[in-house]
Symmetry: D2
Subunit: 459 residues, 4 copies
């Protein structure tokens, strides 16, 4: 099942002589499971808030390994979820997961989009005061049709998406597999830890569109966190062997849906009776892109999708404009969101339409903690596979992990987002995206070493 | 099956003592078939170029009654069809028609959207030189979800659309039923005609969007026409008993699809690499509506549907804008179409996108022939049901029957479009549209009297 | 001073044998004065509300001939004037008029833009109940630089404008000359009238921009009017010898000034602090032109002038947009004005600017009275010069005489606007405009005959 | 003449014990002249390319002190000048300068906008190989009406602008006064210099709008430069006593004039015959502001002035749009200028207008040389007045001195722009702008110390 290409590669140096023997031995056993898990997840991609099969697969394993699970309303604040899809979409996705073997008891746990999984374990000697390390991954896929060409590895190796129109094109399958590997490793070796450490794993739904983090935070997922770690494959680290210990400059972002309502009318007989929602949305789109630049930092605005009108011979009475704004700082982000809302309302007024604006996602600007970056750089020395570790690099985009980072920072903890370098077959969010599976095991090694390091010297 | 409500009404005065006895007797037998046929068609609505079941139902009856049929390439010029739907849509519609009982031989006749039916008969004594009267109806339905409320008569009487999302909301079911009734009447009584007359019936596909008339004309459907008659239920004649003998002022119209292609880019990372098709289409929509008024007559422009972009975090690379233009005269119509094409190209240029423009439909400005209007007013006197006949009224919209009217006028013949007044439950092209079925039989009577009149005094 | 070209033409047939001898004799004496007066006015053009020299010239003559003058506040309601120019402009224009010889006593009468002149006379036998005929002319010129080419007759004949940037390019010099001729004729022959008639002449300021009529009406200029006559040279009657007895279809119009106020900011340092009035005005201009067509009749909208911003490196904080709307009916006119105000306010909102909208002119839709048209057609028979008299023709534009016509119509009187055909050297409102002076005398003859006719048969 | 307020302040510490005695003594004599010169220039502000009186005043002094002048075509490449005003404006400005006492011989030197002044001197012992230090100032003022309020110091002290509508609101009067002071100091003490040094002073016209630097460069003004120094009062250094030794991040900028030509038409009669330049310019303005942000750095765009149309009742046939673009890097600047040109051309096409685009100004992105910054920081230690010296700070705007900096850098020399901190009464480019005159003498001291330092250790 594992391709010849992979079998042939020299095993990467995953540890050094100073790595504890139990850890070195364990790592040697993880290569195949990591790849199998990643490929399983890749084959069964699910959109945000509908990760029924994905969450069920992960939760079942965690439970089997002895992790303490928190699920449903305890893991996710229902009201704080953003961009929840229509009930009909959810129903169809749940039915598919059931058809693919998800037991009904899991389906009822995750029903109605409550797909977050939180898992806790205690490592090492008993202790009341031991530090709490939280590691977070995302799980959702994208509405992209995966490339079907023979030169696309997932096709050649037969793990391309089985769900038409949905694809893991952002590496979340890899992130989840790495955390699953860590879960197995820690569970097996909880007594090998010389120092006490509480570890929590967060499997977050709906990262795409910045929709899920806030609802896990609201449910208390980060309470008591001393250290928070997240990761992303690729991005500015596009060579296998690169490692960014802490990404900086997450752009704050808000995703908005503007729904314009006008009044239909026959386009020939009485056009004056219409109120044209298509023109309102068009004026809004142009106006949004023409919002002023900001003297204090980079901003972004994108009216990325517009669906308006039904019929060419009627004044269009409905239009939906989906957009996002981003800012390099809290100030520019807030200013831009306010401007965007004003422009949308203004365009509606200009064309005599009503408009309602819904927040479909949101994440703040954030950066990694310098102390934690330094610690991770130290840990990276234990994983020679990472030939090019750097303390920091610009993220240059948005990720709703930034909401978790900010929450931990404001509560006095430390947070960092690790970028794991990988050669990519195609860019993120494209049908040819694919990362280098050889990075899975080194990433797991790094996290395991970080656990040991944090337990040994908590602050 | 006929509702109590209808059964209770006093039979309308469909003829006068001067009507031939055979005709009076025949008309008495037609009420139930007309309503049954109309309701059958209403139940099975089909979109333009996909009238498989409709055309098969009609053609089978005509054949059975002895009409000479012209079908396929002989009835319809394949290349002159406009706005032909994607092959996948056609395949699905054909499969549905087959599942609903359409025999395979008919399906192969109409395959690939060749759904026109032309039928010829000779009435009265043999003659080489007899006049040719052509009557035309449309057959297609609209992409509208029929109202499901109990106060909607088709629901109460159980003949509402069985095809979700498709509805006869413009009366074409009625038009076709009337012409089918005339076909039966003429076939049964061909020898009762004292004067010779050649009659041709045209069952035209894809009237909605002005897509079908040109392709029937190109196939020779109107060759040799002396007189052309079409009809429409309702419109400016919204009271049962009204009759407009010849509608005037059909607006010339062109339907255009503008497909903009830009270049996608990550909205945060490198927005400058994108070429924004959504903004190009938005600018085009605003620009189209801002085209100058014309000093020589009324014009209309409507950018009625816009679908752009896929995802809010990518610069949108695709946009489809569906629009129409209309003009009261040939000059204003041509000028406006040229302006619209220029604006679309200009907007594409402004936003650095490519654009392709497809003609999805077209019909010229036209008016009814005054002599033919006068003849029909005379004939209407034989049908007292029409208490309010008027020689002419403004159409104020577009219909691709105008293409046929113009073709006949230019070839030296006479053409008119009759508006048959009817109380309406809801406006044309709305989910509550329904006309008064009591008009079907008087309309048939009028056409039958017109046939006799034309045969008797051809010019 | 009169050119050879004119001297050579055969005197046009200005009357018939049935014309009274005193009138025929008088007309023979008027040719030279009419042309001299017209050329004097043409040489000294003045913009609306600043017709100091013009009004002074006319009023002095009327006074000398025995007309009873009404001036100042009695002739013009100060508050009802629209589009009054800045005080500085007025001061400069008054100074020029003084420099050109206007006596100070006249200047004080007309000061501050109170430039209307109303003159009354009684003709024929004394009578309390005689009908009141009102004739109106306009007096103002346009902000156009007159053509200086030798092939422009006013240059060749040395009567081109002496006021740089101002020109009589709409024939108001001719209208006023004709009415001045009539004033002399009536004053000389008041006792020759066999039937009593009260005649009032209105010399209206600021017709351009539809600014002046309302203020004369408010001052009572039309009180008691039985018949109101106005005239225009040219327009749809572009051949010398044509005559339209009553123009129809004056478009209702409103002239609006939209003054946008934003907030300036350094375009590089802090553009986000600005509120961009230039973009607000630009969006308004585009939005205005994109207002829907109206199903009930022709409309027009023109954002004709825009001045915005001061400096390319500052966010523009000020913009002035001058526009007009027109409608063929009261309903379309009102609807369009409301739409325009909404669009302007909406565009201001979209760009976060304040806006104030001022009405700079206004005139309603109107048409000539059919009975009066018939009377004038009868009178025209007495002036064979008019070889092509027609009862009516479409005006197709706006004129604030329509406000007077509507006021008289609503008060039960009759009103008509006569179009006097003339070959034109260039279109109205262009630098090469010039009309055929041979029409002055026939026009005077027509009006004189109309006076006799009205006196003889008042209703 | 010097105000009590100034007289009362403790003399600022302009030097240290290590300052040469001749320099310390000289500095003590300069306070009054510097202020007088600055106030003279402030009183007589002149716009770019029309600095006739200013250049004459400066050149006469330089000549008197023994500087070698380069003027006219030798100092300025006529063809490389950008944004040269209309001849009529120049004529008026020259006449004013003459009326204010400028001798005719100077007027002929500067005629037609050739207002640059270049002055050279040799300091210290003779030497062929001594380094060349160039110092540059700007001289032009802004089209701003100076504040006339009593609380505005120039009003209170009677040196407010005597030229209505023109004001030194950007400190160029101060820059020129400082360089004039340096010129007197160096000329008096050329033999006190222990090491040889060639010094060149550049008095550049038309800095506002980035119009003048290129033309001096083209004329060879910078040939052979080892070190180039410029300065600006205020900006990000708004406290008296602050000093930025080398400003960074000059934004590259291009100023464009887009002149749209359409076709006029009567707005009611035949609007379809028009081609609307006002709408073309409006669409361009909106489109310019909607150009995408750039992933590689800050950009700015400002359509700052628009004048379109003549008359509200005619389709506007002319529009002038004045705009600028800026970019933080050469790449973003070039990209943005190309985008802007494309948008303008596209908007013209959309509205069927012609457009011509003129470059009215341009300057590249640039930064100060780090070595030179370090040297100046060292020199600043000799002027204790500057309590807050910093090596660098962001400029955050544009200045056409950047063109000179880039030219010197590319030729292997070093360049820096010094920001001299000053309390400001109002922001730059506002009617209340005024700087703190106490900074003039310390700035002169700094430059004098820099001359000594550079002569002593050229590299």
């Amino acid at each position: 099942m594992i391709s010849a290409a992979y079998a042939a590669t020299t095993p990467p140096p995953l540890f050094t002589p100073s790595t504890p023997r139990w850890l070195a031995a364990e790592l040697r056993t993880q290569e195949t499971p990591l790849i199998l898990w990643r490929r399983h997840l890749h084959r069964m991609p699910e959109l945000g808030w509908m990760e029924f099969g994905t969450a069920g697969f992960l939760a079942a394993k965690l439970l089997g390994w002895g992790w303490r699970l928190t699920l449903g309303e305890d893991a996710l604040c229902r009201a704080a979820r953003m961009g929840v899809p229509p009930a009909e979409d959810m129903r169809r996705a749940a039915a598919r997961a059931a058809a693919e073997g998800l037991p009904p008891e899991w389906l009822s746990v995750f029903a109605d989009g409550m797909t977050a999984v939180r898992a806790d374990i205690h490592l090492g000697p008993e202790s009341r005061d031991c530090p709490l390390l939280i590691l977070r991954t995302d799980m959702d896929a994208l509405a992209i049709n995966e490339c079907r060409s023979e030169d696309h590895l997932p096709v050649r190796e037969a793990f391309a998406s089985l769900h038409s129109g949905i694809m893991h094109a952002c590496g979340h399958d890899g992130h989840a597999a790495i955390l699953l590997g860590l879960a197995r490793l820690l569970a097996r070796h909880r007594d090998d830890f010389p120092h006490p450490l509480a570890v929590r794993l967060l499997f977050q739904p709906a990262e795409e569109g910045a929709r899920g983090a806030a609802a896990m935070i609201s449910a208390g997922a980060l309470d008591g966190a001393d250290i928070l770690l997240g990761m992303h494959i690729g991005l500015t680290a596009r060579r296998t062997g690169q490692l960014v210990c802490g990404a900086d400059g997450f752009l704050g972002t808000t995703k908005l849906d503007a729904c314009f309502t006008g009044c239909p009318a026959h386009a020939a007989g009485a056009p004056e009776e219409g109120r044209n929602a298509l023109l309102a949305a068009s004026a809004a789109a142009l106006g949004l892109h023409a919002i002023s630049r900001h003297g204090e930092g980079q901003t972004r605005v994108c009216a990325g999708r517009l669906a308006a009108g039904e019929n060419r011979n009627a004044i269009p009475a409905h239009a939906l404009l989906e957009l996002e704004v981003r800012g390099a700082t809290q100030a520019t982000h807030s200013w831009l969101e306010a401007e965007a809302r004003r422009v949308i309302a203004g365009a509606a007024g200009l064309w005599n339409c009503d408009v309602s604006i819904t927040t479909a996602g949101s994440a703040p600007a954030a950066s990694s903690d310098p102390r934690l970056r330094a610690r991770l750089l130290r840990c990276a020395a234990a994983v020679p596979f990472f030939r090019e570790p750097v303390p920091a690099a610009a993220f240059g985009a948005s990720e709703d992990f930034s909401a978790m980072m900010e929450a931990v920072r404001q509560a006095g903890g430390q947070a960092a987002s690790v970028l794991i370098g990988s050669r990519l077959a195609g860019g993120h969010h494209t049908p040819r995206f694919d990362f280098d599976e050889r990075i899975l095991l080194p990433a797991l090694s790094l996290l395991a070493h970080a656990c040991l390091d944090i337990a040994a010297s908590p602050s």
